[in-house]
């Protein structure tokens, strides 16, 4: 497992640090070293050897932990904005580019200067003004609507309107401020009900009940930043009234207003007919009913409407895109896991379950398919189009047929945006899917496992044999010294029995046997010993094809490793 997680060039075992020959035991390595590398320089290396073993061991252990750490880091990097990390990634990507970078020192991020503080200061001063303006108008509007609903009397209404906002005196404004025409009998003065200014009929705008309904009903979340307490009170009142009335009264208002127009005083009727007449002459069309405002107030109201709309609606493309990002994130976390599994399985290891891996794979594939589909959808769906399952199913068809239909409504920018997203999807899939290793089939897996088992057995046998040989040699030397022949027989017999035990136990109910030779070689740290024992158990369980045992033992092993690390860390800290 540890070897596969790296580039593959890593070899395990008791390697001679000079000639990289694989020797099975420490004994053998030592012998080999004494025989093959006997020069001064080599001796120096030998001095380092002992410490090296310790370090290598801890490194291997850390490796397992580090992988977990890395995964966490990656997850965090995507969520937080760490400035140094992508820069590092950048520079490495750049170095791959080929131009000799060795001459260049690591480069800092260039100088930069922010103007946001002064920008904010200036902006805030102005924004306050705008917000207050808008709120003032909104409050008046609410009051107007509320009053309208309760008092159908036009005279009172006008009184109320004048009371709400002081109307500009007629004689102060000889010309329409918007179009610059002189007011006369046919071009009469009109007042904006929201700010009280004067304009001609042609320059008037009308807030339709539909429109005001949208503005006022949605006013639920106050747009206000700085509002005087007094006004706040008014607002609350207004809103209550409006909310109570709800939607249906909107039509009511219209009816009432119409009614009042029709029944209006002779003066207004005359004016109206005159207006109609003049309107025909000048080419004016009779305006829709509603609250009369000037163009400035209308612009403010429109902006308000847009704000509300933007806050509440989310275009389809955004929804799709959010989904897409979610899927991509999921894939990014799943991918490395899967690759680890696949590699392990392909190597014939039994640490992972094939079924589980297949599950993950199909999950991944589904994600990719979804990404592909969404990428595709973003390209074909226009903003207005509804996201139907029909599109989902026969997307190919729509791509060819609907292309002419949908793209006509889209601006070239929207199309380019969608193409961009689509391309991103394609690149993402290319980067991730094509690199995915395939899984072996059941049969293949069995073969692979068999192969590996044989290999392991072979290696074990070799190791054991080599160990025996060394042992024998040593013993014969000892023998020569002590000349006691019985001991040898005993030792050989002992080894023999363990061997027989193992072959038998695999056939029957399975119990792992402690391989004394491997345990004996480890250091005296009981935790390390325990780990080695478990490792040999795992090997045996694997050889015996006991998957659940392997899993359990591996879990055990991992726990032990973690614990071991915790201890070591603590020690390190204490030191």
């Amino acid at each position: 497992m540890m070897a596969t997680s790296d580039s593959g060039d890593i070899r395990e075992g008791f390697l001679c640090p000079i000639c990289m020959k694989d020797l099975q035991t420490v004994q053998q390595l030592q012998n080999h070293f004494e025989e093959a590398h006997n020069t001064e320089a080599d001796k120096q290396v030998f001095q380092h050897l002992k410490g090296l073993f310790g370090r290598a061991k801890s490194k291997l252990l850390r490796h397992g932990r580090d992988q977990d750490g890395v995964r966490v880091d990656r997850g965090m990097a995507s969520s937080r904005s760490d400035s140094s990390e992508p820069v590092a990634a950048l520079s490495t990507a750049y170095y791959v580019g080929g131009v000799d970078p060795t001459m260049w020192e690591p480069q800092d991020f260039g100088t930069s200067r922010s103007h946001m503080d002064s920008f904010k200061k200036i902006r805030d001063a102005r924004i306050d003004f705008y917000v207050i303006e808008m709120n003032k108008l909104l409050i008046r509007l609410e009051k107007l609507i509320a009053f309208d609903r309760m008092n159908p009397d036009p005279v009172k209404k006008k009184e109320f309107e004048i009371g709400l906002v002081p109307w500009a005196p007629d004689d102060a404004v000889p010309f329409c401020p918007t179009c610059g025409e002189k007011f006369n009998l046919s071009r009469r003065r009109h007042h904006c009900r929201l700010c009280g200014s004067i304009m001609c009929n042609r320059c008037s705008e009308f807030l339709t009940p539909d429109f005001t309904g949208k503005l006022v009903n949605k006013a639920g979340n106050p747009p206000v930043q700085n509002i005087r307490g007094e006004e706040k009170g008014h607002r609350r009142q207004g809103r209550k009234l409006v909310n109570k009335a709800g939607n249906p009264p909107v039509q009511n208002i219209r009816g009432e207003e119409k009614g009042h127009r029709r029944q209006g005083s002779a003066g207004t009727r005359a004016m109206e007919s005159l207006r109609l007449l003049v309107g025909e002459v000048v080419g004016e069309e009779p305006r829709e009913d509603g609250i009369r405002t000037c163009q400035d107030c209308m612009a403010v109201m429109r902006r308000r409407e847009r704000q509300i709309q933007e806050k509440t609606t989310k275009p389809i493309i955004v929804q799709l895109y959010e989904k897409l990002r979610m899927l991509m994130d999921k894939v990014e976390t799943m991918c490395p896991e899967y690759i680890k599994m696949a590699e392990s399985l392909n190597a014939g290891e039994t640490s992972y379950n094939l079924e589980h891996a297949n599950n993950v794979r199909s999950q991944l594939m589904r994600c990719y398919e979804a990404i592909d589909t969404i990428g595709f959808l973003t390209e074909v769906t226009s903003y207005g189009n509804t996201f139907t399952s029909c599109v989902y199913v026969c997307r190919k068809k729509i791509a060819t047929m609907g292309a002419s239909g949908t793209e006509q409504q889209l601006s070239p920018q929207a199309i380019r945006l969608q193409q961009g997203i689509r391309k991103h999807c394609t690149l993402f899939i290319q980067d991730n899917v094509f690199g995915l290793p395939s899984l072996p089939s059941e049969d293949q897996l069995r073969k692979l496992q068999e192969q590996r088992r044989l290999e392991i057995e072979q290696r074990l046998a070799l190791e054991r044999q080599a160990a025996l040989e060394v042992e024998e040699r040593r013993r014969s030397e000892e023998q020569r010294k002590r000349s006691s022949p019985e001991k040898e027989r005993k030792g050989a017999a002992a080894v023999d029995t363990t061997n027989r035990d193992r072959t038998e136990s695999i056939g029957k109910g399975w119990t792992p046997a402690v391989d004394s030779s491997s345990v004996a070689t480890t250091e005296t740290d009981p935790m390390l010993q325990q780990m080695d024992i478990i490792r040999s158990f795992v090997e045996q369980a694997r050889a015996a094809g006991r998957l659940d045992e392997v899993e359990m033992l591996e879990a055990n092993l991992r726990e032990l490793q973690q614990e071991y690390w915790r201890q070591h860390r603590r020690q390190a800290y204490q030191e």
């Binding site: 400035s83 820069v87 750049y94 200067r113 275009p315 493309i317 955004v318 945006l417």
Partner: protein
């Protein structure tokens, strides 16, 4: 001191600061080139930037769901466009980055127009130059002078660009300039002014040896941009023209559609990165290798019989496709280069050019040029450049035959404009304009004399690349501490005592890829010294002639009337 990386870091930071979500990158004409030089589109797509828009393009649609990253030069025009944009914002949130120093009043205008509070960030990120290679930058300014003096626009742009580069690299340099050039002096003074005005920005940690900014003038060396080139990058620029890493192949006979315009970027094309500084012969063999490698792969790809083969194909497909793209591109480019080399007898022409540039041998040179004039295959441009080189080298030769050559050019049907260039170049970079001994003719100068001797002793390795640019000599002397204070004075009183370490060289009137290669080699071979080269633009002969043409507008020419008298003899 990596100019490409500096811009890349800026752009990456901008994108990163805006957080996750769909993004649009809003740029102007200049910043579009700046960004496109360092980032490939696919690379930027992966950072969720899906749209690239020009600030001045009309009728952009409202897309409130996008975050907008603005990267703009702080021009009056841009500020105006941007305030319009902010008044009626098309995108949800704005992150604004200016590529240079922006005035307080402009910030105020923008702030006042941001009525809807869409702006989240206003910053200065000093990526205000075109990063061509890690050691080479340009401002894409052709024709920076008129009547041998700055156009005010070009001066302003060069000054802004240079100060931005210094800020991006975090260098506050000492400044030296070429004394013979009024333009160099003015630019140096302007840069210095900005540095003292923005002292707060230039307040970096002081290194042991302060960096050095050396400002030169192209007019001191008009020869280098007139030569045919034989290294890949330089050759492509000379024969096909590179504009912002793109080359236009649409004039190549029988070109396929997707190869009409190809991108040559060392950042994203490994083959190019490792071959751009190699000479034509080496490229040929490398291309052959690439082809063979590719064919081997294609062969293995072709036998798709089993499912396993299919799988292998699909798994290798992205690399395969990438490789096939690279192969097709470079094979086409190199093929076109060799067609041009063969078709216009460039080897013969180049040999004479190099001789003209490096040696003084009037009768022989005259003979070679006359011979080439009779050859129909030699192109007009090549004849013109030979005449220009001849006119420069033998400007004061008593028996020079410039007039005969101009007549001969006329007989070949060369346009009047090119003929006028013969006088123009003498006016632009003739001996009285030059501050240094370009041709090494002054035997009283011991340095150039010994150099000439050494050159003669060493012999010539390659006749096509024997020329070394003046820039290389100047930098050699600078590094050795032998550059004369009289010819290249310091601005201000302080001088550099130690051997310089970080050197930024800027050539008014443009640099060439030959010089870029020289700097690249110096960077590699001189430990402890880092050099960055820049120019108002990167020239090939055509663009250089345009530069000369514009620079000499409004001057009186020597060769316009039939009678021209060399002032005095020289040996």
């Amino acid at each position: 001191m990596n100019v490409v990386l500096a811009v890349k870091q800026y752009v990456a930071k901008m994108i990163e600061d805006s957080g996750p979500g769909m993004k649009v990158l809003l740029m102007d004409k200049d910043t579009t080139s700046i960004v496109s030089m360092v980032y490939a589109q696919s690379e930027i797509l992966q950072k969720e930037v899906y749209l690239f828009e020009r600030l001045d393009s009309q009728g952009r649609e409202i897309m409130k769901h996008l975050k907008c990253i603005c990267f703009l030069r702080p021009t009056k025009e841009n500020v105006e466009f941007l305030s319009q944009e902010l008044k009626n914002p098309r995108y949800g949130i704005y992150y604004i980055y200016f590529s240079n120093v922006i005035s307080k009043s402009d910030v105020k205008i923008l702030a006042e127009n941001d009525e809807q509070e869409v702006v989240r960030e206003v910053q200065e990120f000093y990526g205000d130059y075109i990063a061509v290679n890690p050691h080479l930058f340009s401002f894409n300014l052709t024709g920076c002078s008129q009547g041998i003096n700055w156009t005010s626009q070009a001066l302003a742009r060069s000054c802004q660009g240079l100060t931005a580069l210094l800020l991006a690299l975090k260098k506050c340099p000492m400044i030296r300039f070429q004394n013979s050039s009024e333009m160099a002096k003015r630019l140096a003074e302007n840069v210095r002014q900005v540095i003292s005005k923005e002292a707060g920005l230039f307040d970096f940690r002081k290194p042991d040896v302060p960096p050095l900014l050396l400002i030169l003038d192209r007019r001191d060396d008009p020869v280098t941009p007139l030569l045919n080139q034989w290294t890949y990058q330089a050759m492509v620029h000379e024969l096909l023209g590179i504009h912002n890493n793109r080359i236009d192949l649409s004039s190549v006979p029988g070109i396929s559609r997707d190869l009409r315009e190809v991108v040559l970027s060392a950042e994203h094309d490994e083959f190019y990165a490792s071959n751009m500084f190699l000479n034509f012969g080496e490229i040929g063999s490398n291309i052959k290798e690439l082809m063979e490698d590719f064919q081997k792969k294609t062969k293995s790809q072709q036998k798709v019989e089993s499912i396993a083969d299919m799988k292998a194909f699909v798994e290798n497909y992205p690399q395969f496709k990438k490789m096939s793209g690279t192969v097709a591109k470079h094979v086409t480019v190199v093929g076109e280069l060799s067609r041009l080399v063969g078709g216009h007898k460039l080897l013969e022409v180049s040999e004479v050019e190099q001789e003209l540039a490096c040696k003084s041998d009037h009768s022989n040179h005259l003979q070679s040029i006359k011979k080439l004039f009779q050859d129909e295959q030699v192109s007009e441009l090549d004849l013109v450049r030979l005449v220009l080189l001849y006119a420069l080298r033998y400007e004061r030769h008593p028996n020079n035959e410039v007039h005969w050559m101009m007549d001969a050019l006329g007989r070949r049907g060369v346009s009047d404009r090119y003929k006028k260039l013969v006088s123009a170049i003498v006016e632009y970079g003739g001996s009285k304009r030059r501050g240094t001994d370009l041709f090494g003719t002054d035997n009283t100068n011991p340095i150039s004399f010994t150099k000439k001797l050494l050159k003669g002793l060493k012999g010539v390795e390659n006749v096509y690349t024997q020329h070394t640019s003046l820039l290389q000599d100047v930098l050699d002397q600078l590094i050795k501490g032998k550059l004369k204070d009289g010819s290249y004075p310091y601005l201000g009183t302080s001088t550099l005592r130690d051997r310089p370490q970080d050197i930024i060289v800027f050539t008014i009137g443009g640099v060439t890829y030959e010089e870029s290669l020289a700097i690249h080699n110096m960077n590699r071979t001189t430990p402890g010294v880092r050099i960055v080269l820049g120019g108002t633009t990167v020239h090939n002969t055509k663009s250089f002639l345009e530069e000369v043409w514009q620079a000499t507008q409004g001057l009186r020419f020597q060769y316009t009337n039939a009678q021209a008298s060399p002032q005095h003899r020289w040996t």
